[in-house]
Symmetry: C2
Subunit: 230 residues, 2 copies
DNA sequence: GACTATTGAATTGTTGAACAATCCGTCAAT
DNA sequence: ATTGACGGATTGTTCAACAATTCAATAGTC
């Protein structure tokens, strides 16, 4: 009876949903949220004692959480000095955009193999951005823009690409928060996003890729330029 | 006097060379080497007590090392059960090849901006593979092939791409070690590698990219096919 | 015999304390 | 202003303890 039951496989697919998680992971989640929301300025030192006391976890558990975030490049670790909120260099920002361009344009190129629901997610992100723009909710415009690009990367249908993209965007937020008017780097691209989404639904993948590539030309130089003046 | 001395900058560039490293990192290095060299069969459980005793480190330090390797997907962590050497599924192998194809073809496309030394590294990897093939040293043929693809990815001139590629290839080795005759998956591609390298030195980037894409068509289906029969 | 419940040993999860190693600011000396 | 020594504070690492959980073996039930 325990052979290949058709329903059992459906259950097994949801196996990962009930993955229990330890304290270190949860601590890392909390810190990660604070980091990507810009509550901690780059360069800030996170002392084991104070953070541990604030979250009521032991130093050992906290250090495990720190390791995770260091591996995700949100924190940097200096031996015998502690962990600090990462401060991205101009080279880092340029590098992040290089990687983004590679992943996203490749994803669009392989979009013809993606199912319609995946493309619908892209469209939805654009719509949410447009509505947020009408409300003049620039904060939400920014996160909708992030979701748009996450959705673009998802066209590759690869768990690993999704994961890399998640990390990449989290890291990029460190750069955005360091600047004075982050809105300027999301609002102007609403139109391009719409065009790309429409091209995707129309099946014009080559054109979508070209538009995306042009977007990166302007967006990356703009951000790098702005980031250069510390 | 401590202003912008021309030599001081040269020194500062070598700053990263003296990064001291803690015990956890070194433990992770040791375990990583054993993992990618196939000394531990996938599915093997690494008990904190025995590994800690073997390496003479405390449980806490060992757990920090485990976290790093879990983050690199070389180990998997099951709550209250321990860490195990990862066993890749067929989907994992397919996903790894999807990501490789994206990164490597994109890297080749942007190869025109890479300096000649970076391309020379590709050629060198091919030559080392060819010489190892003459010696019938199939082990070395395999690692030379890995170096070739690492060098291809390096054409993107991105620290992050290099890092992702390193992890990706380490993960792939888990799949190779699980198979009976790993040689079959490196040797046949020596010719293609040579062709791609020659096209790169000749500046024929589009053709190089097309050849690489074709390589992935055959290589990925071959490996997935072989991996399906457990 | 097949299935379920219970028990207990073994392992992991987490904490707290301890000590060594190192960093950093301070102050004195030159 | 530079150097050197001192001392407090922080991190690096280990150890011991206990709670939580798994796993295998046992016994019990139909």
């Amino acid at each position: 009876m325990t052979t290949t039951d058709p329903w059992m496989e459906a259950l097994a697919a949801d196996r990962e949903l009930l993955e229990r998680t330890g304290t270190a992971e949860r601590v890392a989640d909390v810190l990660r949220r604070h980091l990507i929301e810009g509550r901690l300025l780059p360069g800030t030192r996170l002392s084991e004692e104070s953070v541990g006391r604030a979250l009521a976890v032991s130093r050992n558990t906290l250090r495990e959480a720190f390791r995770l975030l260091v591996h995700e490049r949100l924190l940097v670790h200096e031996f015998h000095r502690g962990v600090f909120v990462r401060t991205l260099t101009v080279d880092d920002v340029a590098d992040l955009y290089r990687l983004r361009r590679m992943l996203e344009t490749s994803a669009v190129r392989h979009a013809r193999t993606a199912d319609s629901e995946t493309i619908a997610t892209v469209v939805r992100a654009v719509e949410e951005g447009e509505q947020a723009s009408l409300r003049q909710d620039w904060q939400e415009v920014g996160t909708a823009n992030m979701r748009f690009h996450q959705a673009i990367a998802a066209l590759a249908c690869s768990r690993r690409v999704d994961e890399i993209m998640r990390q990449l965007l989290a890291e990029l937020r460190l750069a955005f928060h360091a600047m004075s008017r982050p809105q300027d780097f999301h609002g102007p691209y609403l139109g391009v996003n719409r065009v790309i989404a429409d091209l995707l639904t129309a099946g014009e993948y080559d054109q979508a890729e070209r538009r995306l590539d042009e977007y990166f030309d302007t967006a990356s130089t703009q951000l790098v330029r702005a980031y250069e003046q510390l």
